[in-house]
């Protein structure tokens, strides 16, 4: 990296974390590479003997040990509140035999060869894959470093490596010898990588499984943590945009005469579908944007509204679509059935609305481009910048940042594209910030979904045939460009095609119905959230129709799911399930096996009149396999559950004349502390492979809530949010 470029990076997170140039030029390791990747920068460097003090371009590794003994973990996952980077640090520290206080986290740059998540096949943070993916390679990276350091010590002391051991950042020899990692790293870096890297067994863990303090939180309680929106780059101006209010519309003309008179305004930049203002501060940008006189070509979507979309979706849910799963013979089962039951469940369009609004710092120069941006997809960020600027990808530096909430929003890079499109028209760095109104009306939304379920039932009301038709937009197709030839969106039908219940004669159909008017995207819980809602509501209806207890009924269909059974039984035990409640009160449950974790959730509520209710208790039982950091698991279940509660109660994006109607938190309200019940979390101790936990809670609260409302009121609500149906918490 040329020195001149270095000097422009002086406040970047990367630089801050590096601390000093000598500390990190020691041992650089990439001890594990994704199986799909045959070759890597780090692997090449290792075989060519280029590791070590000369290797300053040392990204492409998970672990570095500095000459000052500091350990830097290069995190392939960005921190956005889920506690992932602390979890990753714990995995490395456990095997490397260092205390967490010796570990510094550095964000990985875009590098598919090194950092692609093999569960998702690309470099991304999302889909509750982070723990599942990093569990093996990050521990292996730590262990590899430890083995090399021990070997280096053994060479120095002329003893067998087996007589030395690592402890708390030092290697101890058989005769009282003692050396810090920093002293050993120079030699260790010259050694060949070990071919065998055994990992600890769970009973050997000292750190994993114990509650650890998050590494990123001290700077988040004193205002020092910098998110993208807080960055200051020398010479930078703030930019903000107003984008055509109808998706697909275009800028026709703009009169900027008044806007240019606003104090602090520098440039007005025209984009295809937006106008940007750059100024010395965000407020001046907003004043100038308001002063613009813009004429839009609103395009083809201008006549669409939500009622049309709802109607089209309900109609679509009766169509045949494509087969996503077929087992046995549904028609025969229907003929043999004593009765059939059908219900349609609808889920609203949702915005992500993290509290950090859309923001991206971009500096485009003739010879390169720097992006400072919190992104879940650094490679995509790099690629879009290369496309917009015409620069080669290796000239695009992505400096990933802490994210102030994403919930899937920063799996997209529309705003990075826009920031680069603005930055290439000016000769200074810009920090693009969207107003909350722009953020909410130009999100990529969780799509509307309609699930039509039909069960063929025997005399006891148990399913002998099951059909699940899922109608909705394809997030997957929008995201990767197309669906496989089967036409099945694997995300849309997840859970439905592999339910935890034993459902003979199962048929799942996917009917793609695009809203067109707005782009759709990933939203916390993704496919499993949508299908779990429909499935867990429907199974609850079947249980009640059969006059069976909802827990007993579920258990009777879960014989092949011991872990799901265990969380459900634990939940029943902890909540006093089965104990009678006064009239007007009820309990509802939901259970799932998603993201590699098993979770069951119960809501207990009390009606206060016809449509008002008070949530009295909210309890989850969780088996997420081996727990890395119990504090983070509990926090994710608590927060994820309440995040889902907020959406289930209140949230719905509505379209009128092709435009999103909700503009800010007054019209897209969020759960407040006064409305948030405490969440009890019970963890099951397990040695199974760790599962994801960031989204599991979110997926269960909706059905548990609706089921509780039925138990308390006798009213079955099949559409979320509840506020649309007239139900409110008090």
């Amino acid at each position: 990296m040329p020195m001149q470029k270095e000097s422009t990076l002086d406040i970047s997170r990367r630089r801050l974390l590096q601390g000093g140039s000598t500390a990190l030029t020691g041992l650089i390791l990439s001890s594990w590479l994704p199986p799909l990747v045959s070759k890597s920068v780090a692997a090449e460097a290792a075989t060519a003997g280029r590791l070590g003090d000369q290797s300053i371009d040392g990204f492409g590794a998970f672990v570095r040990v500095g000459h000052d003994s500091r350990v830097t973990v290069i995190s392939p996952k960005i921190e956005m509140g889920q506690g992932m980077q602390t979890g990753i640090a714990m995995m490395v520290a456990e095997e490397l035999e260092v205390g967490l206080e010796h570990v510094t986290i550095q964000e990985a740059p875009p590098n598919t060869a090194l950092y692609a998540d093999t569960l998702m096949q690309f470099q991304a943070t999302g889909g509750s894959t982070s723990t599942r993916y990093t569990w093996e390679p990050l521990r292996r990276a730590g262990a590899t470093a430890r083995i090399l350091l021990v070997q280096a010590a053994a060479l120095r002391w002329r003893v067998a490596p087996s007589l030395c051991r690592a402890e708390n950042g030092r290697v101890l020899g058989p005769n009282g010898q003692n050396a810090s990692y920093g002293e050993l790293v120079g030699v260790a870096a010259t050694l060949p990588l070990p071919t065998e890297v055994p990992l600890k067994t769970p009973e050997q863990f000292k750190l994993l499984g114990t509650p650890a303090r998050r590494l990123d939180t001290p700077s988040k309680v004193n205002g020092k943590a910098r998110f993208t929106i807080d960055l200051q780059i020398p010479g930078m101006l703030v930019a903000s945009t107003v984008t055509c209010p109808v998706y697909g519309g275009r800028l026709r003309s703009v009169d900027d005469q008044q806007a240019r008179k606003i104090l602090g305004v520098r440039d007005i930049v025209r984009l295809e579908n937006a106008v940007a203002v750059t100024a010395s501060n965000f407020w001046a940008c907003q004043q100038a944007l308001k002063a613009l006189r813009i004429e839009w070509d609103l395009g083809a979507n201008v006549s669409i509204d939500s009622a049309q979309l709802d109607e089209a979706l309900i109609e679509a849910s009766s169509r045949s679509g494509v087969i996503a799963k077929r087992e046995g013979d549904i028609e025969q089962a229907r003929q043999q059935s004593a009765s059939q039951f059908e219900a349609v469940y609808e889920q609203a369009m949702l915005s992500h609305s993290p509290l950090e609004p859309i923001s991206c710092v971009a500096h485009v120069r003739p010879d390169g481009c720097d992006l400072w941006v919190g992104t879940q997809v650094p490679v995509f960020a790099q690629q879009t910048a290369a496309r917009i600027t015409g620069l080669p990808e290796n000239k695009i530096q992505v400096h990933n940042q802490l994210i102030g909430g994403a919930f899937g929003r920063r799996l997209d890079f529309d705003f990075i594209t826009q920031a680069v499109a603005i930055a290439r028209q000016v000769d200074y760095p810009i920090k693009l910030i969207w107003s909350r109104e722009e953020d909410m009306t130009h999100d990529l939304y969780r799509p509307l979904y309609a699930d039509r379920l039909n069960a063929a039932l025997d005399q006891q009301g148990r399913p002998i045939g099951w059909e699940h038709r899922i109608a909705g937009a394809s997030v997957l197709a929008r995201y990767i460009g197309s669906l496989p030839s089967s036409g099945v969106d694997a995300d849309a039908v997840e859970v439905a095609v592999e339910p935890i219940y034993h459902l003979p004669n199962l048929q799942v159909r996917y009917i793609r119905e695009e809203p067109g008017v707005v782009p759709v995207s990933w939203w916390r819980g993704v496919g499993p959230l949508r299908s779990t809602y429909a499935l867990e509501c429907f199974i609850d209806e079947l249980a009640h129709n059969a006059k069976a207890d909802p827990v007993t009924y579920r258990l009777s269909l879960m014989e092949r799911q011991p872990r799901a059974q265990a969380v459900l039984r634990l939940l029943a035990e902890k909540t006093g399930w089965g104990q009678p409640l006064p009239a007007g009160q009820g309990r509802g449950i939901a259970v799932s096996a998603v993201f590699g974790s098993y979770v069951a959730t119960m809501v207990e509520l009390e009606m206060q009149g016809e449509t008002a209710f008070r949530i009295k208790r909210l309890v989850s039982a969780v088996d997420c396999g081996l727990v890395i950091n119990p504090t983070s698991v509990t926090a994710q279940i608590e927060g994820g559950t309440l995040f889902g509660l907020s959406a289930s109660l209140f949230n719905e994006i509505l379209i009128k004349n092709g435009q999103v109607q909700q503009t800010n938190f007054h019209s897209y309200r969020q759960l407040r502390i006064s409305e948030a019940p405490p969440v009890e979390v019970h963890l099951i101790s397990s040695l199974e492979t760790p599962g994801g936990i960031g989204e599991a809670g979110t997926a269960l609260i909706g059905p548990a809530l609706v089921n509780a409302l039925f138990a308390a009121s006798g009213k079955r609500i099949r559409r979320l949010p509840l506020s649309r149906m007239g139900y409110y918490p008090v």
Binding site: R213, N222, Q232, F282, L402, I673
Partner: protein
């Protein structure tokens, strides 16, 4: 030219009178601990203290606070209560993404300075203006109560 008293220091800023305090802090003084979330006093991430009381800096014109005591998250550890709140936030692992937490800590500190033993109702009233999309509410409540007990 406006003269502001921020965290005990006098600061001269040359900005329009109607510029909200938030943007003076963030874009003029580079004090970015105070956050932008909604611009219409709906989310609370911009909370600072004005003469000891919590206000939403996104809707307060700078001229309205000239000469008055403004305290931001950057200096909240200079008060015993502020320090205790920060400590409790870490001890109870309140923080997730952290973006709203400056505002939460400012609101909680003001609450505890005015009412050292707040009950649930008082916590609801004082904190309901501060959104947290990660929904760390359970722990915010626990942390506030732990400070009250100490």
């Amino acid at each position: 030219m406006q003269t502001l008293m921020i965290n005990g220091q006098s600061r001269q800023v040359d900005v329009p009178e109607d510029m909200p305090l938030l943007w003076v802090l963030r874009d003029v003084l580079d004090m970015t601990g105070t956050k932008y979330g909604c611009g219409i006093a709906q989310c609370g991430v911009c909370t600072v203290h004005l003469d000891g009381q919590p206000i939403r800096s996104c809707v307060i014109p700078v001229a309205a606070v000239a000469g008055r005591q403004i305290t931001t998250i950057e200096a909240i550890d200079e008060t015993a209560v502020g320090q205790a709140v920060q400590r409790a936030w870490l001890e109870h692992e309140v923080v997730q993404c952290g973006y709203c937490q400056s505002g939460q800590i400012m609101a909680a500190t003001a609450l505890l300075q005015n009412n050292p033993m707040p009950d649930d109702q008082a916590i609801d009233t004082a904190m309901a203006g501060n959104l947290c999309r990660c929904a760390t509410y359970t722990r915010i409540r626990t942390a506030i109560k732990s400070v009250a007990r100490s």
